[in-house]
Symmetry: C2
């Protein structure tokens, strides 16, 4: 490989996504150059393309890759890795307090100031990388980032054995959350909108509940992962007084919230984002999370626009991109 | 006293508050009839008068009284008491789960289906009553209800010794919250809008911070007690990623919340309402909470409308009503 060579990527600029050739990036000394083996399209990517967040560059943040170059740790070359997406400074208040994913000057792979994974190559700091055990195929490892986001819920709330957990939304992220909480022994039921989502949940032995059957003001913990404002309204109606709603959805615009009712009912709302990669890798290595049925399609990178079209369809599951 | 006698009260009907004569209420067997010694006007009372919640009857929920009749416990007669304001059924899911203040069929003194404390007499279940130690004067005991609401914060969040706590709002409730958290050893600073509020905080050795000096995205725990929508915006700007905002304000209308930002910053929002009377009484008995400087005026009940006018002024502190 030659530094002056070009690579193919999906480039976002002025709300328009294009397949482009750009120079292969040059890693900094503390970074590795990775060859992307497989990448996944996430709801955030779709929001970026809609123009809801300002970003210009290569998008994509879910991937499994292979280290091509790593000047400060040659032993990594050839290793298969996944990567945490927040690039932190290590010096700010958040970093010093152990909240690296909240670094005040962070860039985020494919989201903020850092070219992403819908490309043949990407650069990430070595400290962001996690080796992928041989037993985890690429098609499972590529789920590591969203799976870690699902695991984050267990880091933020303690769920009692008898707590009734309701998950609203059974899309790309919702399916992973459902599996993680089910594996953790939670008493969970899931509101799913599409037959394919219901089927996948059934295959995993996870209870599905119809919207009309959601108990009112009775659920201990509600997880909102619909990616839409409707989800919050359902969550708010379902949660019991002194219950908790974990917010996993990011979407454009403001939500009208009746704060007085939140106060009177003493509800807790918790925002939840990126999570622990180690936990996600462990679940994948043990084969506990079934990712195969979540894959809807895999496109070559050059057909990335078509892949985005498919991923944007209502009820779409995971659409993957393969750079080679 | 004769059951057919009348009593004076403040009666709310069709958004209009009137001084009225009504029959002295008849306690049920499990209730006590109390003579109100002193009552306090709270922000919720002002909201009720504005017509923000539907309620018809005698308003008021803060009081100290004396037991006049209690057929199922004669030993209580003559005792000075304060009373928890939620009348719970003891049978519903919330009650059985130990969340009596969230009883699904509750009535609430002076707020929901239960005549309140701006009257010469009121009825409350014996189980709602707490004896007031002789060392606590009426003028302090009348603060027991809002003080317990302040204490509720410590039941809901654990505050580390090094956590920076910011209280926004130093009105009637804010002053009590400031004292409770200061007594608990918290590192607290308070945003106060009015000179009288600042003076009272200074007298208690509590730090005051100007709005312009609030650190951005840096505060571990923010308590929003302004009673207005502006308070939330300040709180949101001040709280650090993964920080907590305790919501103490009830006000009419919906608040626009950027949920995506709450998710990205992993903020926790906690609604907080009524709290433990025993803790409040203990603080008052130890003389730790200074209530005297919080009293702005005391009116005879017959001048209740004038008292409400004064309580509704911007920056007003506690206005009391004395029925005799």
């Amino acid at each position: 490989m030659n530094d002056h060579e070009k690579m193919r990527c999906l480039w976002l600029e002025n709300h328009e996504l294009k397949v482009r050739q750009v120079p292969i990036p040059e890693p900094r000394p503390e970074e590795a150059l990775l060859r992307v083996r497989l990448a996944g399209i996430c709801g955030t990517d779709l929001e970026l393309v809609k123009g809801y967040y300002p970003y210009q560059g290569i998008i994509g943040h879910e991937f499994v890759g292979e280290v091509v170059r790593a000047v400060s740790d040659l032993s990594l070359v050839g290793k298969r890795v996944v990567g945490e997406i927040n690039l932190s400074c290590g010096k700010c208040r958040s970093c010093r307090s152990g909240r690296k994913t909240h670094c005040e000057t962070r860039s985020v792979l494919g989201i903020i100031d850092q070219n992403g994974s819908f490309a043949e190559y990407l650069c990430l700091p070595l400290t962001n990388l996690h080796s992928v055990p041989d037993s985890i195929p690429d098609e499972a490892a590529v789920f590591c980032e969203p799976l870690s986001a699902a695991c984050q819920i267990l880091q933020q709330v303690s769920i009692g054995r008898n707590d009734h957990v309701l998950l609203i939304g059974a899309g790309r992220l919702g399916q992973l959350i459902a599996q993680v909480l089910s594996i953790a022994g939670c008493n969970i039921s899931v509101v799913a909108r599409y037959p394919a989502q219901v089927k996948t949940l059934n295959q995993n032995g996870i209870s599905v509940i119809a919207e009309a059957d959601i108990p009112k003001r009775a659920v201990d913990l509600v997880i909102e992962a619909t990616g839409s404002k409707d989800g919050f309204r359902l969550a708010r109606a379902a949660v019991r007084p002194r219950g908790t709603i974990v917010l996993k959805s990011t979407y454009h615009g403001l939500l009208d919230v009746d704060i007085s009712a939140v106060v009177v009912d003493e509800i807790t709302l918790i925002g939840s984002r990126c999570g622990p990669f180690a936990a996600a890798l462990s679940l994948l290595e043990q084969g506990l999370v079934k990712t195969g049925p979540l894959i809807e399609a895999c496109y070559p990178l050059q057909d990335g626009l078509q892949a985005f079209e498919q991923a944007a369809r209502s009820g779409a599951m995971k659409v993957l991109l393969r750079p080679d």
